[in-house]
């Protein structure tokens, strides 16, 4: 049944009050998705209804009881993970387990001490293995930050240049589904589409210092100075976080395409920051958007690019990777496509290292392409499923392998090392 505009407006109070029939609710929900004026009207109805109940002071004991309850639940959940960081970097607090340990008897204390000791032993560098790697980025000290999908105490591991490891406690509530990683100014960024969070890790200490909410299907993170950009493949939006000093940041979200649900393996897109511009792929619509970094305003967009899932700025040109197996070179100055090269397979990651572009394909291949000519120089098979690539110092390339750690290749695609 179709509802007229007037009927939809009459239904708003009923929906807000939970009195609508399922059919009416569906109609209003669908209309709200597309009608901004109706959304404003609905918000006004909600706002008026919020004022209906009178605020009353709850019994003082309720707050104390609640805080005690969350401490207990927190201590229980720590059984399965390393001690977490609850407070910002400058004001660390002890793990909740310490608060939750009963002090009733000596044996209880000894048992608690034993548990803590076991937890600490588990965190010793030698004990941390990189079983799988879903995303990888090179850190400021030349090491790596690795994100591993799933739920474990070692979802995030910092690998130091001497190959010692530090497990990072993420306090993730759901299974992690990492889609991208980045590093800048001593901070590592792990993008988790499963928890819809961008985890920010202090590289020297290996501590989680913040977790920012990100849009649905967060597929890519780019960092430059105080600006952090996240592309949402499902949400069809691009979020620009800007640290403004004084402990604050602004968060600007721009819609560049309609929302579209998709399974997690299809959450692929990339955003890069260059020359005060943000370039972002949206593979669902086959477009690349160009946005102003300061305002988040979309300036223009390139269309009919197949399924663009990755891009890179090389000089004044823009390299765009089409998942269908094409590497395109666009010239944003003249708005033209300069060149195009066909690729074997379906590479989904693109990374630039000097004069070479590296592409990885989940079918098990890494390809090297000359940036100036787009000539394919070589292709190698790696053992496992390559999920992500990152250039390393010394012209090396880190390849994150699902369930296989990190493989380090040289610029000739020769395997130098496997870190697992």
């Amino acid at each position: 049944m179709n509802f007229s505009d007037t009927e939809l407006r009459e239904l708003l109070p009923l929906v807000a009050l939970g009195m609508a029939t399922p059919q009416e609710l569906r109609a209003v929900t669908a209309a709200l998705e597309v009608d901004a004026a109706l959304r404003m009207e609905y918000a006004a109805v909600q706002r008026a209804l919020n004022g209906v109940p009178q605020s009353l002071t709850p019994p003082p004991a309720l707050k104390a009881r609640l805080l005690e309850a969350i401490r207990h639940s927190e201590a229980a959940s720590l059984e399965a993970r390393a001690p977490s960081q609850h407070a910002p970097r400058a004001t660390p607090t002890p793990p909740a387990r310490a608060r939750g340990v009963p002090r009733r008897a000596l044996w209880g204390g000894l048992a608690a001490a034993g548990v803590i000791a076991l937890a600490l032993i588990a965190l010793l560098p030698r004990a941390v293995s990189v079983v799988g790697a879903s995303v990888v980025a090179t850190t400021g000290d030349g090491g790596l930050i690795v994100g591993n999908n799933g739920a474990s105490a070692t979802n995030a591991v910092l690998i130091r240049p001497n190959r010692s490891r530090t497990a990072v406690a993420l306090s993730a509530r759901l299974k992690c589904s990492f889609t991208d990683a980045a590093s800048s100014d001593g901070l590592s960024y792990l993008l988790d589409a499963g928890n819809e969070r961008l985890f920010i890790i202090d590289e020297p200490s290996g501590r989680l210092i913040d977790a920012w909410p990100v849009p649905a299907g967060a597929a890519s993170v780019a960092v430059q100075g105080d600006t952090v950009v996240v592309k949402g493949a499902i949400s069809g939006t691009l979020v620009v976080f800007d640290k403004t000093g004084a402990g604050e940041k602004t968060m600007l979200e721009t819609r560049i395409a309609p929302r579209k649900d998709m399974p997690m393996p299809e959450v692929m897109d990339q955003a890069v920051i260059a020359d005060n511009l943000i370039f972002a792929t949206h593979h669902v619509t086959g477009e690349v958007s160009v946005l102003d970094q300061a305002t988040g305003r979309e300036l223009r967009r390139f269309a009919n690019l197949g399924k663009p899932v990755a891009l890179a700025r090389v000089g004044t040109a823009l390299l765009v990777l089409d998942y269908a197996g094409r590497l395109l070179e666009l010239d944003p100055q003249s708005d033209t496509m300069q060149r195009e090269v066909a690729l074997i397979g379906n590479p989904d990651r693109l990374s630039i290292m000097g004069d070479l572009a590296f592409l990885s394909d989940r079918a098990g291949f890494v390809t090297a392409v000359r940036v100036d000519t787009l000539e394919v120089l070589g292709r190698t098979r790696v053992n496992g499923v390559p999920m992500d690539i990152s250039p390393m110092p010394g012209d090396h390339l880190a390849v994150a392998i699902s369930k296989g750690g990190v493989v380090v290749l040289d610029r000739n695609l020769k395997t130098l090392e496997t870190i697992n």
């Binding site: 009923l14 939970g18 918000a43 919020n50 004022g51 560049i256 223009r300």
Partner: protein, 214 residues
Amino acid sequence: MTLAVPSAVPLVRAIRMPVMPARVEYTALSDVALMSRLEVLDEGAFAEIYDRYAGLLYGVALRVCSSSLKAEEIVQDTMMKLWHNPRGYDVSRGALSTFLLTLTRNASIDALRRGRNHLTSSLTDDEGEALPIPSADSGPLERAELEAVSQRVRSALLGLSDAHRRTVELAYFRGASREEIALEMAVPVGTVKSRLKYALDKLRATLGEWAGDV
């Protein structure tokens, strides 16, 4: 390849939120910032959210259930739900106050309805969370503003006719369906719908005039 220049770019939201502060002044943080801190299990942020909204939640639960014990239980359950699943709240879909009030009111009405069958849809889904109904009102509502809105709305409620006020109260605090209200007030179902629309329009208009004054 073609080039398109977008004629209008809708900015979905632009908000300010805290980032890595050296010392956390929770009272100065927005609701969004507090919610993001719940992700890292920040107890201080949780306590601040409680201070902001517990009175309102307790007020609605007590009015619906008429039992201080039950009201306490419902507020505690709502707040624990927030602690365990902060991502259940989506900032783009409404203010935190709306989200919490919806959870509390639904839980209170469910407690009231227990044992009875209702034909109307509930605002809770299977997991007991609010349905994803988007709202343009994504900004945090400060406590003082919320209290001012509440005062304004309640005085506007008193200005309504008995029939209109009773209709709103039956719907809001009892969770009564259109049919139930129609039966109780001995009017056609269509009248219930139009009375609710009229009453809400009046309440909204009051808030609109007030916002214009500020």
